[in-house]
Amino acid sequence: MSAAIEVRGLTRRFGAFTAVDAITFDVREGEVFGFLGANGAGKTTAIKMLIGLLAPTSGEARVAGHDVLAEADEVRRRIGYMSQRFSLYDDLTVRENVQLYGGVYGLTDPEIRERGGALLERLRLVHAGDARLGTLPLGWKQKLAFSVALLHRPAVVFLDEPTGGVDPITRRQFWEMIYAAAAGGTTVFVTTHYLDEAEYCDRVSIMVDGRIAALGTPDELKRRFDAATLDELFVRLARPAAAAAAGAV
């Protein structure tokens, strides 16, 4: 089995502060991988390195078979990205957003028409194609943003808190879309503050103070740490870091 993401001793320092401290792990092709950690644990810095936005201080990472530093353009062509804070443009219509991102991701006009049309059908958004995105409910926006991030059929998609503030039914529909993408061979790398969602991942890692404090399937981790839920485990692992951060950051 080949790895969609290979991380070896990846480190990033800002002055005297080590945000990411020699992390090493693999994510398999077609896996749903949950990347967890408290605020300030180093998740965002790690993701920025994996998507080629930030150079590592040392160590290396390969995403979809390419080095994130030496082959950043190759990596970017093969990944999709969406987050709660940044996804699509509220002032453009649904169809304009699809066209814009199709172009950004290097699709041809016929490809955009064909895949964009199929995407709106699948999401049952054909009727809303000419509506300004800003007028849609958040849950629809997030489902659309995820589908747009998959439009160029990336090998790996990064989802940074994709379901924050979304209602509980739409949140579950979003996870069914994640499973469908993974079943189609796309590797899904996802962060979330909802620990019930972490249980839906094939494997999860928990970052504490720049390091990976635990990594495994949800069942393995609960057994190993003798915790009933990932929520319980998360609080136990992350608390010392949170307590230190409150006093020292």
Partner: protein, 316 residues
């Protein structure tokens, strides 16, 4: 302290923005010294309701009183007696921690020294950094400063708009511990959150969705409104389990819930143990031999989903 009447009374409140209905006939009442939750997804109307209660928006219809004062007529009196922490960080990033706090105290005609006893339990945690620019604080410290600024004029009512959104599970718990300490001092607190699990930490909650109130009650009582017998199902192959549950002839709804699945059965009044045994046999018959099924009491999230109903696109 104010009179023992309800600090917040909202009756038939409506507010539109163009074609968007933000509040659609909202009614609710918050009792003295209560920790009251407005629970629901983004876009539900929580922020609009706060803006009406803080006199920043005038409603199209309906009325609201805060501490016995009318939100339209008595706006200046209300502003002096209410503490408000908006959803977005709203302090001055170029002022220091202490300057922000002194500024907000002076706006309300008081001083940090006068308000110190009230803010001390929170402010002491960030006081060592009082000379740091607010913009340079970590997320958790910004949150504590914002809460201190909302409290420094010793309000009788505290309104918090999604103070824990985007905050990790550990920090969320700590923030709720702080709210309980404030409540214990007699303060009435209304807090909005999209996190269903936080509803359990409130005395009472209003479930809010698309501008309407779905229910107002104590958290346990809201769960009890779930209309159907509910079963929790566990097993290794969750995707296969979910498919089998949805195909069950008496299925009302089947949803993933963390490491288990919640399955509602249509047969009202049937003994839950019998339903569980029957479902176990059904799943075994479909090759899911390791399935465990137990009757459970529905929680807020179960009730919320049942009350909101499946939105049009949920048919997929």
């Amino acid at each position: 302290m104010s009179a023992p009447s309800s600090p917040v009374i909202v009756e038939g409140l409506s507010k539109r923005f163009g074609a968007t209905v933000a509040l659609d006939g909202v009614s609710l009442e918050v009792r003295p010294a209560e920790l009251f939750g407005l629970v629901g997804p983004d876009g539900g109307g929580k922020t609009t309701l706060f803006r009406v209660l803080t006199t920043l928006l005038v409603p199209d219809a309906g009325r609201a009183t805060v501490l016995g004062l009318d939100v339209v007529r008595d706006l200046w009196a209300i502003r002096a007696r209410v503490g408000y922490m908006p959803g977005r960080f709203s302090l001055y990033p170029d002022l220091s921690v202490e300057e922000n706090l002194r500024f907000f105290a002076s706006v309300f005609g008081t001083t940090l020294e006068e308000g110190y006893a009230v803010v001390a339990p929170i402010y002491r945690q960030i006081e060592p950094f009082r000379e740091r620019r607010a913009g340079a604080l970590s997320g958790g410290m910004k949150q504590k400063l914002a809460l201190s600024c909302a409290l420094v004029h010793r309000p009788e009512l505290l309104l918090l708009d999604e103070p824990t959104t985007g905050v990790d599970a550990v920090s969320r718990r700590e923030f709720w511990d702080l709210l309980h300490a404030l409540k214990a001092s007699g303060l009435t607190i209304v807090v909005a959150t999209p996190y269903m699990d936080e509803a359990d930490r409130c005395d009472r909650v209003a479930l809010v969705q698309q501008g309407r109130v779905l229910a107002v009650d104590a958290p346990a009582a809201v769960g009890a409104r779930f209309p159907h017998p509910l079963l929790a199902v566990r097993g290794r192959d969750r995707r296969a389990l979910l498919e089998a549950l949805r195909a069950h002839p008496h299925a009302v709804s089947s949803f993933p819930f963390g490491n288990e699945l919640h399955h509602a059965d249509a047969r009202l009044g049937a003994p839950p143990e019998a339903l569980a045994a029957e479902l176990r046999d059904y799943l075994r018959g479909r090759g899911l031999a390791d399935a465990e099924v137990v009757p459970i009491r529905p929680g807020i999230e179960d009730a919320f989903m049942a009350l909101m109903g499946a939105p049009p696109e949920a048919a997929a």
